[in-house]
C-alpha cells in the first residue's frame, strides 16, 4: 500500500512538473469578430446579476452599468477630475445649498429620446425610492421634492444644509429613461424586474446576451450620441465571462481565451507579466487597508496598547505582499483625496517606543492574546495577520488569527460587544472629497462594517460635520487637516497601506485609462479598442 502511495505521488509530481515548465500559449485570439466588429472578452471573477444601476452597486456591476448608463458628470484621468458628461456645465451657489446643472443638448437615450431635466429628476427620485445600491450616498440630505426641473435642459438640486461634497457622488448616479421604465413597470415596481436584464440608458453599449452566472454580452451603438473617441476602431461589443478562480483567469489570459482579467494574485500577476504579449496595468490605488481596533471594548480600548501595537508593527513587510506594488499610508486619508496631508511622526516600527507605550498599560510585560479577524479567502489579509503575529511577539502579545466569511464580518461589526480586538479591512474611496474618508470616523458609521472600531471622539465628530457643511475649500482644507491629526493621535486603527490597482490584458487591447476614484478592476469599455 505504501509503495502504491509512493508511486501515485511520484506519478502526479512528474505530471505536474511536465506541464508547469515551458508553458506555451495557443495562437488564437480571445476576442470574437462578428461582421467585422471586434468583441472584447473580459474574464471576471464575480457574476453580474443585475444591470439596473439603482438596484445593485459593486465593482463588477458598476463596470457594466457605466457602459450602459451615464451620469451627469464623470471621474476621468489620474489624478481624478470631475468632467462634464450628460451635463455640459454646472454651478454651486455661495453657501453650497444649490447645485444647478445644464444638460448637453446632444444627449439622448439609446432609443432616441432626449435626456432632459425631467429624466434626471426621475432617476434621482427612483434611486432614492428603491433605497438600494447608491442610495446611501445622498439619502441623508437629498429629497425628491428638492429636485427642481427649471427647464427641459436645466435641473437644480436644493439642500437644507450646505452640501459642497454633493458633486463628488454624482458620477455613481446613473440617469435612466423614464418612458422606457414606465412601459415596463409591473405593480409599481419602478421597472425593477425588467431593468435587471434590459436597457434604458444613454451609454455606448446595450445588453445583447444575459446568461446568468456564466456570460453577459453587450453590443455597441454605432450612433452613440457622444461619438467614439477612437472612431471606427471602437469595440463592437464586450463579453464578460465569469471565471471564478484566479488560476483559471490566469490560464484564460495566457491561452488567449480572455483579453482582460483583473483580480489575480500577486504571484499570478508576476507570472503573466513574463509572458510575451501580456501587459500589466499597475497604478497607485485608492482603497486603503487598515487594522481597525475595537476602540470601546476589550484590551484595545486602552490607547497606550493601540499605540504600542502601532509602533511594534513591521510596516516594511506590507508592500512585499504585493511585490512592492503597494504604498504605505501617511495619514488616515488616502493620498488621492483632496485635502490629504502627510502627518509628521506617523507611526512606523519603533520597538523602543512600542515598549514605552506598553509599559503604561496593565500588560507591561505582555502576556495577553488578541484576536485578529480577516476575510476568509483573502490571502493578503491573512498574511497581514501573520506579520502582525510576528511583530507583536516582540511585545509578548499573542495574536489569534480568525478568518471569517464576509457575511460574518459584517455581522460582527454591528456592535461593540461582538467586534473583534482587531479587524483587517479594505475601504473603498468613492469620491475625491475628503468627506468620503472622514465619514468612517463619524459616530454614524457605528454598526456599519467600516465602523467596526466604534471610534468615539465628539471633537472629531463636530469637525467632520463642520467640514461637510462648509462651502469654501479654503475653509474646509484646514478642518480636514485637523481631523487627520486628531485621528492619528487617537490611533483607532493601525494605518496600513494602499495596494496598487492591477489589471492584465493582451497587448492588442488599447485605450485603457486609469482613474483612481473608481472601484478596483474598473475599465471604461467605451475608451477601449483592439489594435491587431
Amino acid at each position: 500500500m505504501l509503495r502504491m502511495r509512493f508511486l501515485t505521488t511520484a506519478f502526479t509530481a512528474v505530471l505536474a512538473a511536465g506541464v508547469t515548465f515551458g508553458v506555451s500559449t495557443t495562437d488564437g485570439k480571445a476576442y470574437e469578430v462578428v461582421d467585422g466588429s471586434k468583441i472584447l472578452v473580459w474574464g471576471g471573477r464575480t457574476p453580474v446579476s443585475n444591470f439596473d444601476p439603482h438596484q445593485r452597486f459593486d465593482a463588477p456591476h458598476h463596470v457594466f452599468q457605466s457602459a450602459i448608463y451615464e451620469p451627469l458628470v464623470k471621474y476621468k484621468g489620474n489624478p481624478s477630475e470631475i468632467v462634464p458628461w450628460l451635463a455640459e456645465s454646472w454651478e454651486m451657489n455661495d453657501d453650497a445649498t444649490e447645485w444647478t446643472f445644464k444638460l448637453d443638448p446632444r444627449a439622448k437615450f439609446q432609443n432616441g429620446d432626449p435626456v432632459d431635466a425631467a429624466a434626471v429628476k426621475y432617476s434621482f427620485a427612483r434611486a432614492l425610492k428603491i433605497n438600494k445600491a447608491v442610495a446611501w450616498m445622498l439619502s441623508g440630505n437629498l429629497k425628491e421634492e428638492n429636485i427642481e426641473v427649471v427647464d427641459p435642459s436645466t435641473v437644480r438640486f436644493n439642500f437644507d444644509v450646505p452640501s459642497p461634497s454633493f458633486i463628488g457622488y454624482l458620477p455613481w448616479w446613473m440617469i435612466v429613461n423614464p418612458k422606457q421604465v414606465a412601459e415596463h413597470e409591473v405593480d409599481g415596481d419602478l421597472g425593477q424586474a425588467w431593468m435587471m436584464t434590459d436597457t434604458a440608458g444613454s451609454g455606448p453599449f446595450r445588453v445583447k446576451q444575459f446568461r446568468p452566472d456564466a456570460v453577459y454580452q453587450l453590443e455597441a451603438l454605432d450612433d452613440y450620441w457622444r461619438g467614439w473617441p477612437q472612431g471606427d476602431k471602437h469595440l463592437g461589443g464586450v463579453i464578460y465571462q465569469v471565471i471564478r478562480e484566479p488560476s483559471a483567469q490566469r490560464t484564460a489570459l495566457m491561452t488567449k481565451q480572455a483579453d482582460i482579467v483583473e483580480g489575480l494574485t500577486t504571484a499570478d500577476y508576476q507570472q503573466v507579466a513574463n509572458v510575451p504579449g501580456i501587459v500589466i496595468e499597475n497604478n497607485v490605488g485608492s482603497s486603503p487597508f487598515a487594522i481597525k481596533f475595537n476602540y470601546q471594548d476589550g484590551p484595545t480600548k486602552d490607547v497606550n496598547l493601540r499605540k504600542a501595537i502601532a509602533y511594534a508593527f513591521d510596516y516594511e513587510a506590507l508592500p512585499e505582499l504585493y511585490a512592492g506594488d503597494a504604498t504605505l499610508m501617511t495619514s488616515p486619508f488616502p493620498s488621492v483625496l483632496k485635502g490629504h496631508v502627510e502627518i509628521d511622526g506617523f507611526p512606523r516600527r519603533d520597538l523602543e517606543k512600542a515598549k514605552e507605550y506598553l509599559a503604561k498599560t496593565e500588560w507591561a510585560d505582555g502576556g495577553l492574546e488578541l484576536e485578529y479577524v480577516h476575510q476568509q479567502g483573502n490571502d493578503e489579509t491573512r498574511r497581514v495577520g501573520l506579520i502582525l503575529l510576528n511583530s507583536l511577539k516582540d511585545l509578548g502579545i499573542d495574536v489569534r488569527i480568525t478568518p471569517l466569511l464576509w457575511a460574518n464580518m459584517v455581522a460582527n461589526a454591528q456592535s461593540i460587544e461582538t467586534a473583534a480586538d482587531m479587524t483587517g479591512l479594505f475601504m473603498a474611496t468613492y469620491t475625491s472629497d475628503p468627506d468620503s474618508a472622514a465619514t468612517q470616523y463619524h459616530k454614524s458609521a457605528w454598526g456599519q462594517w467600516f465602523g467596526v472600531s466604534h471610534y468615539d471622539n465628539p471633537e472629531v465628530f463636530d469637525l467632520i460635520e463642520k467640514g461637510r457643511k462648509t462651502a469654501a475649500w479654503d475653509e474646509r482644507a484646514p478642518i480636514y487637516a485637523e481631523i487627520q491629526e486628531k485621528i492619528t493621535a487617537d490611533q483607532p486603527e493601525l494605518f496600513g497601506y494602499t495596494p496598487n490597482v492591477r489589471l492584465a490584458h493582451r497587448d492588442y487591447v488599447k485605450g485603457y485609462e486609469y482613474t483612481s476614484i473608481k472601484m478596483s478592476g474598473f475599465a471604461d469599455f467605451g475608451s477601449l479598442w483592439i489594435e491587431d
Binding site: 502504491m4 502511495r5 508511486l7 501515485t8 506519478f11 502526479t12 505530471l15 505536474a16 511536465g18 506541464v19 508547469t20 508553458v23 506555451s24 500559449t25 495557443t26 470574437e32 462578428v34 468583441i39 457574476p47 446579476s49 443585475n50 452597486f57 459593486d58 433605497n131 438600494k132 442610495a135 446611501w136 439619502s139 435587471m196 446576451q209 446568461r211 446568468p212 452566472d213 456564466a214 456570460v215 454580452q217 463579453i239 465571462q241 465569469v242 471565471i243 471564478r244 478562480e245 488560476s247 483559471a248 490560464t251 495566457m254 491561452t255 481565451q257 466569511l405 464576509w406 457575511a407 459584517v410 455581522a411 460582527n412 454591528q414 473603498a428 468613492y430 454598526g447 456599519q448 462594517w449
Partner: protein
C-alpha cells in the same frame, strides 16, 4: 411488493421533510446577515431594513419556516437575495448543466472503469494489473480540485487542445431546448459543430468528476471478475470448450456487473455533491457552482433549494437501488 413500495415511499417522504427542516434551521442560525450583504458595503440601516422587509426576513423564524414549507409544496422556491431572481429560474438553468456533467462522468466511469477492471482481472498479477491498481489508488487519492487545475495546465495551457472553462463557446448559437442537455439537444437539432464543441468543453470536468468513481468501478469490476472467473459455472463453461472471450465477456462480466451497478447508484449521490468543486474549477454553470456562490453571499434560498434537489436525487437513487434489489431478492421485502 406493493406494501414494501408504499413503506419505502413513506420513508422517502419523511426523510425529505426532515432534510427540509434541518437545512432551513441550519441556514437560518448560521451567522451572517444576508440583507446587509445584499444591500452592499456602505448601505444605511434603512436600506438594509428595506431588503429585510422585501424578503420577509423581518418575520419571526417560525413564520418564515411555515411560509417556506407552504411555498416549497406549491413549487415556489423563493427569490435569491443576491441576484433578486426567482430561485426556480436559477435551478432551471443549473440543473440540466449538472445532470449533463454527471451523466457524462458516470458514462465515462462505467465504460473506462469496467474495461480497466476486466483487463486487470484477465491479466492478473501482470504489469497491466499493477498499472490499473496504481491508477485506481490515484483516483481515490488525488484531490479533485488539484487534479482539475493540473488538467487545465496540461490540456488547455500546454497543449491548447481543450478550453479552460465554461459550457460552450461565448457566442456559439445554442440549440432550441428539447431536453435542456446542450450536447444532446445539439445532436437532435442536427447542430453537429455545436455538439462537438460541447464535447470539448465537457471533457475535462467530466473526467475529473468521474475519476474517483472510475477508480472504484475498476477495483470492484476487477475483484468481481476474478471471483466470478474462479466460480464453478465458469469452470464448467471452460470444460464445455467455450472460448476465453465468450466466457469473460458474455458470462463472467454479466455477473460481475451487478455489484458495479449498485456501486454506481451509490456513487451518483457522491458525484452530485462533488460537482461543487469541479464546477468551481471549470466554471460549469450548474448546481454546485450555484451553491458555492450562494453560500459565499449568505443567500440561503438557493442553498436550500440546491440541498433539497441534491438530497432528493440521492434518496431517489438509493430508493431505486433498494427497489431493484427487492425485485430480484424477495427476502428483502420482508425486512
Amino acid at each position: 411488493m406493493t406494501l414494501y413500495l408504499v413503506r419505502r415511499l413513506l420513508v422517502l417522504g419523511t426523510m425529505m421533510f426532515g432534510l427540509l427542516c434541518i437545512t432551513f434551521f441550519i441556514a437560518n442560525i448560521a451567522p451572517g446577515d444576508p440583507a446587509a450583504l445584499a444591500a452592499g458595503p456602505n448601505a444605511t440601516k434603512s436600506m438594509v431594513e428595506t431588503i429585510r422587509v422585501e424578503y420577509g426576513l423581518d418575520k419571526p423564524l417560525w413564520e418564515q419556516f411555515s411560509r417556506y414549507v407552504t411555498d416549497v409544496f406549491t413549487g415556489d422556491l423563493g427569490r435569491s437575495i443576491s441576484t433578486t431572481r426567482p430561485v426556480i429560474d436559477h435551478i432551471a438553468e443549473a440543473f440540466p448543466a449538472t445532470m449533463e456533467l454527471v451523466l457524462f462522468a458516470i458514462g465515462f466511469a462505467v465504460v473506462m472503469g469496467v474495461s480497466l477492471g476486466v483487463l486487470a482481472a484477465v491479466w492478473r498479477d501482470t504489469f497491466v494489473d499493477h498499472a490499473v491498481r496504481l491508477f485506481a489508488v490515484s483516483g481515490i487519492a488525488l484531490p479533485m480540485f488539484w487534479f482539475g487545475l493540473l488538467l487545465q495546465l496540461l490540456f488547455a495551457v500546454k497543449l491548447g487542445w481543450l478550453p479552460v472553462s465554461g459550457r460552450l463557446g461565448l457566442i456559439t448559437e445554442r440549440p432550441e431546448p428539447i431536453t435542456h442537455l446542450l450536447i444532446l439537444d445539439s445532436m437532435l437539432r442536427g447542430m453537429w459543430g455545436t455538439a462537438f464543441e460541447g464535447l470539448r468543453y465537457i471533457a475535462m470536468p467530466a473526467l475529473v468528476l468521474s475519476f474517483p468513481c472510475l477508480a472504484s468501478v475498476a477495483r470492484v469490476a476487477r475483484s468481481e471478475m476474478i471471483e466470478t472467473m474462479a466460480s464453478d459455472y465458469v469452470l464448467g463453461a471452460r470444460a464445455h470448450g467455450l472460448g476465453a472471450f465468450s466466457i469473460q465477456i458474455r458470462h463472467a462480466l454479466r455477473n460481475a456487473m451487478l455489484p458495479v451497478l449498485a456501486l454506481i447508484g451509490l456513487r451518483y449521490g457522491w458525484m452530485l455533491g462533488g460537482t461543487a468543486l469541479v464546477e468551481t474549477v471549470f466554471d460549469w454553470p450548474g448546481l454546485g457552482l450555484l451553491m458555492v456562490n450562494s453560500v459565499l453571499m449568505s443567500d440561503f434560498k438557493p442553498v436550500l433549494a440546491v440541498t433539497l434537489i441534491i438530497g432528493f436525487n440521492v434518496m431517489l437513487a438509493n430508493f431505486l437501488v433498494d427497489m431493484a434489489y427487492a425485485w430480484f431478492d424477495p427476502r428483502l421485502r420482508q425486512g
